[in-house]
């Protein structure tokens, strides 16, 4: 059992790197979108607010696997229709795109809550001191929003990391897929899936420690 895992370990590590790429990529893109969507969801005009709320509600109600299938298979059909010739969507791009759509919704909701947690006195003080609204937001409100959002963001990172395993179902060669292939080739499924699980637990464990340490550092002023 052990020899088989040792033999395939370089393969698993390659997959592990892809897993981290997908997770980091979709978390980063999702956060980037959410940083724009969350303030719009709070301060924007009513119709835009409704659209964002609809998007967030929709994604939160749909199974992640279904969203991945929709973007993966739908993306191919859509792009093929758009360009008139068959376009194969690269699995890595499709995976990151699908998980970005999912994570952006959850991150928007987290940041929206965090933004509402910044007291309105902060805005008023900043405006009274002569800051213009965009600058007041960037320098005064945004940093406090991010501190409020930290526990939620940490949680969402763990969720995205685990959800990245779903992309293996549409064929991306990440950790799960590599384990599946190795398990099939060696007839040792238990060893490979346990190894994969251990690698995921390793990342989530280390992430949890790092998040806790970082949030302790960021919130020293609150204690």
């Amino acid at each position: 059992m052990i020899e088989a895992v040792v033999q395939y370990f370089p393969q698993l590590l390659q997959g592990f790197v892809v897993t981290l790429t997908v997770a980091v990529g979709s978390f980063a893109f999702g956060l980037l979108l959410a940083v724009f969507l969350a303030p719009t969801a709070v301060y924007g005009p009513a119709p835009v607010r409704k659209i964002i709320a609809g998007y967030v509600g929709l994604i939160r109600g749909l199974p992640e696997l279904l969203v991945i299938f929709l973007i993966f298979y739908g993306g191919t059909v859509f792009l093929t229709g758009l360009f008139g010739t068959y376009v194969e969507v690269n699995a890595l791009t499709a995976g990151i795109a699908a998980l970005t759509v999912v994570s952006a919704a959850y991150l928007t909701e987290i940041l929206r809550g965090a933004l509402l947690g910044v007291s309105s006195g902060q805005w008023e003080a900043a405006l009274a001191l002569g800051f213009r609204r965009p600058r007041a937001f960037r320098l005064i409100v945004l940093p406090q929003m991010m501190v409020n959002a930290l526990p939620g963001l940490g949680n969402q990172w763990l969720v995205i990391l685990k959800e990245s395993a779903l992309v293996s179902i549409v064929g991306l060669e990440e950790l799960m897929r590599k384990s599946l292939v190795a398990a099939g080739a060696t007839h040792q499924p238990l060893a490979f899936y346990l190894t994969a699980a251990a690698l995921y637990v390793l990342v989530t464990g280390v992430s949890t420690l790092a998040i806790n340490a970082y949030s302790r550092r960021l919130t020293t002023h609150l204690r």
Partner: protein
């Protein structure tokens, strides 16, 4: 996108609907039942109970549900001891494996929520119950757990929806529930939008129904905003 395909897509997905509901409800019940002993172990003063329980929730919450499903369905069958045991008829069936895995996964998350709520019960309640001479069992059943469950009712409603979303993974171990049925229909007709949007609409409806159900339960049982 063509409207003609919505009806055949609906008929194809409909076959998976019952399986989705069965997997969701059975996993949810299993998860809730298994969560309570784990939560009591997590909240227990005894290290011998607390450490194994927290190791369980750490590992289950730290790895993807898909890996857990593959370990249970593909992995355990590799062991002779499992194949010769009484559990084999259960572990051989992909549906039972999916229910078992999703249920035990949900149990870990629910246990953490319950533990949080157990710690929230004011110390005075425990002391008063002890002063009245109630046994530990009665104290749990009559004093602590009613408060815990009333406090976590919204979280349990969320968990039901998460379990419903998790039930889609059963399609990865050959169970043709709604998502699996939808995917097969897409492979045949190459109409991803019609099919997955139809499946998505049904999931949203089920989710809305569950949400409504728990709103009703909350209105009746939840502790008014603490």
């Amino acid at each position: 996108m063509s409207l003609d395909l919505f009806l055949p897509a609906f008929i194809a997905i409909k076959n998976g609907f019952v399986l989705t509901l069965v997997i969701t409800l059975m996993s949810f019940v299993l998860g809730q039942v298994a969560a309570l002993p784990i939560a009591l172990a997590l909240a227990s003063p005894s290290k011998g109970l607390r450490y194994p329980a927290s190791a369980y929730t750490f590992v289950v919450r730290g790895s993807p549900l898909l890996v857990q499903l593959f370990i249970v369905y593909y992995g355990l069958g590799q062991l002779d001891a499992v194949r010769e045991s009484m559990l084999w008829p259960i572990l051989r069936s992909p549906i039972y494996c999916a229910i078992l895995t999703i249920g035990l996964n949900s149990a870990a998350y629910t246990a953490e929520v319950l533990t949080g709520a157990i710690h929230q019960v004011p110390k005075g309640q425990w002391e008063a119950a002890k002063a009245l001479g109630l046994s530990r069992f009665i104290l749990l059943i009559k004093i602590v757990l009613p408060q815990v469950y009333r406090a976590v009712l919204p979280n349990i409603g969320n968990e039901l929806i998460l379990v419903m979303k998790g039930s889609t993974l059963a399609s990865a171990v050959t169970v043709m529930e709604m998502t699996g049925a939808a995917r097969i229909f897409v492979a045949r007709t190459y109409a991803p939008f019609e099919t997955f949007l139809m499946a998505g609409a049904i999931y949203l409806l089920i989710g809305a129904f569950f949400g409504r159900l728990f709103k009703g339960l909350e209105a009746r049982f939840a502790i008014p905003s603490r």
